[in-house]
Amino acid sequence: MRRVASQYIIAWLIRVMTYLIVFVIASIIIKILWNGLPVINWEFLTAMPKRGGSEGGILPAIVGTLSLALGTVIIALPLGMATAIYLSEYAKAGRFTRTVRLAIVTLAGVPSIVFGLFGLGLFVIFLRFGASIIAGCLTLACMILPIIIVSSEEALRAVPKSFREGSLALGATKWQTIYKNVLPYSISGMLTGSILGIGRAAGETAPILLTVAAFYLPRLPKSIFDQVMALPYHLYVLATQHPDIEKVRPLQYATALVLLALVLGVNLVAILFRIHIRKKYRW
């Protein structure tokens, strides 16, 4: 009898814990929506900030974050996809392959602030890019490379072996087989991973803090060698560095909401995309 009771207690306990996590996630999202939504209007999204961010909009931060995300993916996507193709289609078990895999796992575990130090040392100072969009994009690209490689490789491995064998048996070369008979079926899966990578790049603060982000810069960037503002850093500045933190609280909520909507929106697209692919291709 006592044993049965304690079983029920434990089952209830872990159920309560699970829903407590759910409750916290929901309250983060609701709190930010509730306080941020009334502040957001057309002007907030399309105007320059005024008086050190105390008034006006956040257009340069939005443009900054979008250009960083786009630039990052342009650099990381080809590199990541090519690495995944090599690992899944060409690599033989051996020391080189093992080293590449170890490198990918290591990269995935490096703290984002250390990527920032690396970007500062290599791109900003050694290559003399200065604090700029290009330095930020290169740094973020190194950071999301493992995400793109791992998910692209998974997408390639999901294509059945028979697709390759059939093509090879008809006399196609290895690359022809990959290009015509493997990539078309895995490209959407590879893109899903990259979308998740974009979300990560758009939300990161620590690396861009050291390589690109401007504290307050009320104009749009003209070239990739310009500094920009970025949404996550702008939120950090408003919430901790602003001279009157309580007064700009509404702007903090609104900035957090725009950032959250952007990142979760990107992730949602990836999830829907994945569901779509799973329905389309069944072997």
């Binding site: 044993r3 049965v4 079983q7 434990i10 089952a11 872990i14 699970t18 407590l20 996590i21 759910v22 996630i25 309250s27 983060i28 709190k31 930010i32 080809p78 590199l79 090519a82 690495t83 193709i85 090599y86 060409y90 080293t99 490198a103 990918i104 796992v105 990269l107 575990g109 490096v110 703290p111 602030i113 250390v114 990527f115 130090l117 690396f118 040392g121 290599l122 100072i125 490379l145 493992p146 490689i149 290895k174 690359w175 758009a202 939300g203 603060t205 620590a206 803090l209 050291l210 996550p232 939120l235 950090y236 919430a239 901790t240 903090q252 957090a256 950032l259 959250l260 990142v263 979760l264």
Partner: protein, 290 residues
């Protein structure tokens, strides 16, 4: 003939791109290590073993890493204590006890948490958690190690839940069937058979979660108060290694001793996460083979 040449070229090109990951890892160690190495030459590594981090001072600057390391350790340890029961509890609930539709909703919902940017979590901590801690424990500030730990636990939980749940679900059904057939109850089967069988995967999940916790910067910097003191109390302000780099890098002169000291902090962080990662991979391999 031409086709064969092309095939070779493509192969070589892909091989070259695959090496970029290796180059980046080497580059990270070289460029972070280079500045740290300069610090080792002058003023020397002995400078780092001190309990005072006071990089800007009129009398004598001091670059002791001990308060930063203990700060990171305290926050990480507290976060781990919070993460383990919640992470494993939720993973067991989702994989073993939840109804199928409930599971389909719960897992993606918890994974949303992994997508929320750390600066947004830090902001939430600042406006909700910090005042809550201040009032419920009667402190003069809520900017404490505890606040940092709770936020970090929130960020580690989705990783732990997701990987542990996969591990628990990949335990063969025959194990459970055998246990139930011997008369064990459902809960006995879960705790005595299923969870132990999935243990390597769960341990790996926790290690990866801790790796994320040690390396996390923004949320911690916003809520821990950033006082460089050595303490074991969750109700004190602490300054972590990551927050030190992020907060001070903007104000130092390139090439100064302070600048190089921050790279020393970076190398300590890098080695710590690298070590954790290697151990986690060992455990992951074990569960994938077993």
């Amino acid at each position: 003939m031409k086709a064969a040449w092309k095939e070779k070229a493509i192969r070589l090109m892909l091989l070259a791109t695959a090496s970029t990951s290796i180059l980046i890892v080497i580059g990270i160690f070289v460029f972070v290590g280079k500045e740290a190495g300069q610090f080792a030459i002058k003023p020397g590594l002995k400078e780092l073993i001190s309990s005072r981090w006071m990089p800007v001072s009129f009398q004598k600057e001091s670059f002791g890493l001990l308060p930063l390391i203990t700060g990171s350790l305290l926050v990480t340890a507290l976060a781990t204590i919070l993460t383990i029961p919640f992470g494993i509890g939720a993973a067991v609930y989702i994989s073993e006890l939840a109804r199928p539709t409930e599971r389909e909703i719960l897992k993606p919902f918890i994974e949303i948490l992994a997508g929320i940017p750390s600066v947004v979590i830090g902001f939430f901590g600042l406006v909700v958690l910090v005042p809550l801690i201040k009032s419920s424990f009667g402190l003069w500030t809520g900017l404490t190690a505890l606040a940092g730990a709770v936020l970090l636990a929130l960020m580690a939980i989705p990783t732990v839940v997701s990987i542990s749940e996969d591990a628990i679900r990949s335990v063969p059904a025959s194990y459970k069937a055998a246990s139930l057939a011997l008369g064990a109850s459902k809960m006995q089967t879960i705790w005595k058979v299923t969870v132990p069988a999935a243990l390597p995967g769960i341990v790996a999940a926790i290690m990866l979660g801790i790796g994320r916790v040690i390396g996390e910067t923004m949320a911690v910097m916003m809520v821990t108060g950033n006082a460089a003191i050595i303490t074991a109390s969750p109700f004190d302000s602490v300054r972590t290694m990551t927050a030190t780099i992020a907060a001070e890098m903007g104000e130092v002169a390139f090439g100064s001793i302070h600048y190089r000291a921050l790279f020393c902090v970076g190398i300590v962080l890098l080695l710590a996460t690298f070590g954790l990662n290697i151990i986690a991979q060992k455990f992951l391999k074990k569960y994938r083979m077993g």
